[in-house]
Amino acid sequence: MNAIEVNGLRKEFKAYSSRPGLSGAFRDLFTRNYKIVPAVNDINFTVKQGEMVGYIGENGAGKSTTIKMLTGILTPTSGQVMVNGMNPHKERERFVQTIGVVFGQRSQLWWDIAVQESFRLLKKVYKVSDADYNEHMDHVIKTLDIEPLLDKPVRKLSLGQRMRCELAAALIHNPPLLFLDEPTIGLDVLVKLKIREFLKEINEKYNTTILLTTHDLTDIEALCERVIMLDEGNIIYDGALRSLKEKWGEGKEISFEFLERAELARLQTLTEDLGAKWEMDEKDQIFTALTGDDDEVISQVIARTVAAYKVRDVKINEPSTEEIIRNIYEKGMMHHG
């Protein structure tokens, strides 16, 4: 069964613009100029039950708007949305029973009261039985290590502590589908790792579908096999993270540190027929050769360089996902698929 089915989904906003000057301000009192801007532009995708999908894009690409339509908060301008077999905004109250949502930038716990009171209220709200709650939440609380935080009011928690509690709160009813909107924003590495581990675990244990938006691509690399990339409201890539790398990660970088002084020009002529391009980092005296993906070429470049100079250190790097994605955005990405 598909957890999410989206067909021609579109959301338009009115963008008001103010007229300049005092007279403009007076005119704005009566009529206002606006443009209709599509935040999400006729997108299609499906997500299968149990998939973990990374939903990425620049700021303002339409990620959050999509999530808000998928969770029934916003009404789409046009198009069909089916999530867990329901129409989110039509049957909101019944539908939200089957999803969990974490907004990294907003708290869903009650600020002034102890965490456990929030949990207790949510347990009632989602009509979770005591037996289910104890069995499921004991485990969640233990894994996320939030036992000592339960009797503290939310406002006294640090961001990392709060985020772990938020995640636990979103899982009280053990939903089959989890939306995470920038869940690791502003968190330190240890908390990030803990949250990732935990997400992997619940995905394996309960076959929970997870749709994750983030700017931290290491999150995506650690969790998701599939990414959907959004740019200005359009899906520009939808597929495996690995093939994204293969398609867009052009070539490799070989960096050398030499024991003696080296010259860029000489290195350049040395490997000219192999098509390698050299760059030099003045500060650290690191020389980098950019080559294609051909293993034969790479090994030739290394062999010739090592023969010419004494080498202290060699590294072969693939471009990181971050670089690939930056590349895609910079190129505007006209050729997708």
Partner: protein, 263 residues
């Protein structure tokens, strides 16, 4: 229903978390009752009654009106405005409950808290200081109880309406303040409606405000008895039903054109 009861409990806890608010509230209400007591004493100046109310009835009216206000008054319009402006309403909409229902329950939790920890002890203190007249009639007390529940509902509905307008106006602080002053004045909190000039009484008959304070206070002070009191209760109940309509209409429009502020 469980979840709504739980929300009332949570609201209780939140009220307890902010004790200072609670203490200053008691102080402000006592000062108000005291000030109005002396003001009305000066106005009566030895006259035995004005517009059918004796001086003692008037004092009782003022004290009861303020103590009832502690029960029906809440700030859910301001809270809604804040939640909408800051985009927190998104979190409320991903929960399987009715947002407006939950807001009403929060208001009720606040009201019950103040009724027990504020109005009742406050009334005892005020009764010791000023000469008040309590009815010995159980029917009066019963009708008063029904009446303040209805005033809570009317006031909360008006608050919901004002709160929902934030969806359209984005910044309605002025509207909220105006509504508050309007309710204090037209509900009969500051001045019984029977003291208003005739033409304005005419107008106010067609407005829901008198159902908030005037009717319960008049019932309590025996200003309304028998059929008059029953009519008052029916009028309140009618307004509760009527106000459901604009709330539902505005809410369904608001949901459609909802924009979540701040990403």
């Amino acid at each position: 229903m469980d979840k709504y009861l739980e929300m009332i409990r949570i609201r209780f806890l939140m009220m307890l978390a902010y004790r200072t608010n609670y203490y200053t509230g008691i102080l402000i209400y006592s000062i108000n009752i005291g000030a109005y007591y002396f003001l009305w004493n000066a106005i009566y100046g030895g006259k035995s009654e004005i517009e059918g109310l004796s001086a003692v009835q008037m004092t009782t009216y003022v004290a009861v009106a303020w103590m009832a206000r502690a029960f029906y008054f809440n700030n859910i319009d301001r809270e809604m405005a804040m939640e909408i402006k800051e985009g927190k309403v998104a979190v409320e909409l991903i929960r399987p409950y009715s947002y407006l229902g939950m807001k009403t329950m929060q208001g009720l939790g606040e009201g019950i808290f103040r009724l027990f920890f504020f109005s009742v002890p406050g009334m005892v203190v005020v009764a010791l200081i000023f000469p008040l007249e309590f009815s010995a009639n159980a029917a009066t007390w019963g009708m008063f109880a029904v009446s303040i529940v209805l005033s809570f509902l009317i006031n909360t509905q008006l608050n919901l309406l004002t709160g929902i307008t934030t969806f359209f106006l984005y910044n309605n602080t002025g509207l909220i303040r105006a509504k508050r002053v309007l309710i204090d004045l037209f509900s009969g909190l500051l001045l019984p409606i029977s003291f208003f000039p005739g033409w304005s009484q005419e107008i106010m008959q067609y407005l829901p405000f008198q159902g908030i304070s005037y009717i319960p206070s008049m019932i309590f002070t025996n200003g309304f008895t028998g059929s008059e009191a029953v009519e008052g209760l029916l009028l309140q109940a009618a307004w509760v039903l009527i106000l459901v309509i604009p709330i539902q209409i505005l809410w369904s429009i608001a949901k459609k054109q909802l924009i979540i502020q701040g990403g």
